[in-house]
């Protein structure tokens, strides 16, 4: 086998029936490469890597590839514990994938032990801008400037209150979760969401307590009038794959 392999995730060996019908990037059939109890979930890589690199520069193509990568990871995560890999990990052939599993066996085992039975939940908090826009400059420029400066002060104060509210929600969720991780806030232009994204976090939660965690998040946000919440998931544990994370918990 010398065909290049695109790798999606590393987890436990699966029943081949669980992978039947699963397709990855460019509709490639998904299969596994095993070493002892570890299995890498792979498919044929797109034949021309340079072309793939160029495709990923285009947002519409990137979205298609990202969705394909993600759907394989999610399908496998629904069946076994997995370590999701970063998009675009390609090996020369299956033997090189097996070599990787052999070389990093201990590390993968440690990660899988930590992630077993968990799911990632995404929590985004948005601060709503509640200050009314100042009236258009009318007869009195002075009144307009005064309005502007009052609005500015109100916004400052709202920001501080929102920051404190975010801290309260994050602390409560963090105490409940096994681990937490921050993502960069999403620019509104990218997400299309209303309000300013003031927290974009992921929490690692026992799979059996997913619903409970979601309810807790919603309840906490209800108590914070300045914030709007969005809970997403369950996700495969993308945000908890750093090998040294275990030391922090």
């Amino acid at each position: 086998m010398t065909a290049p392999r695109y790798a999606y995730a590393v987890g436990r060996v699966l029943d081949p029936a669980d992978l039947a019908g699963l397709v990855g990037i460019d509709g490639a059939e998904v299969c596994q490469v095993a070493h002892r109890e570890l299995a890498a979930v792979v498919s044929a890589a797109p034949p021309d890597e340079a072309a793939l690199g160029a495709r990923l520069e285009r947002l519409d193509e990137l979205a298609v590839v990202a969705e394909a990568h993600h759907s394989v990871v999610a399908a496998v995560a629904a069946r076994t514990v997995v370590v999701p890999l970063r998009l675009g990990t390609i090996y020369r052939d299956e033997d090189r994938v097996r070599e990787l599993l052999r070389e990093r066996y201990e590390g993968f085992e440690a990660l899988l032990a930590r992630l077993a039975g968990t799911v990632e939940v995404g929590v985004k908090l948005y601060a709503q801008d509640r200050s009314p826009a100042p009236a258009a400059p009318g007869a009195s420029g002075r009144a307009y400037l005064l309005q502007l400066s009052q609005r500015h002060r109100r916004r400052e104060q709202e920001w501080q209150e929102a920051a404190a509210a975010v801290e309260r929600v994050d602390t409560a969720l963090g105490a409940y979760a096994l681990d937490s991780s921050r993502h960069r806030p999403q620019p509104a232009q990218l997400s299309g969401a209303a309000g300013e994204n003031v927290l974009n976090a992921a929490y690692l939660v026992p799979a059996g307590r997913l619903a409970e965690f979601g309810e807790l998040a919603e309840r906490l946000a209800l108590g914070e009038p300045l914030l709007r919440i969005e809970v997403t998931g369950p996700w495969a544990p993308y945000s908890f794959t750093e090998p040294d994370r275990g030391d922090r918990t």
């Binding site: 290049p4 790798a7 390609i90 020369r92 232009q189 993308y238």
Partner: protein
Amino acid sequence: MTDSNPWLTSQRQGSNLADVLERVLDKGLVIAGDIKICLLDIELLTIKLRLLVASVDKAREMGIDWWEHDPSLSSGGRRPLVAETEQISVPARVEEVPS
């Protein structure tokens, strides 16, 4: 598969393309493959997205419709977004990593 499997009972509610992109491009374990494809940074992606060459329908399929709330873009009706992406795009870099 048990009944309590959370993957089967819940949907990816409220998640959007940005949620997927930030996970697959910015999170996930980085291991050295034989062929390394350098990917766009999320920040750069945002800039590109603003200048995206895309038909409106295509973008809407992807769940992106922010320009509809942006008066400077939507005031003229359904004009296709103008195209500056090619000028700012960073050339694709594909490197062979010595093994």
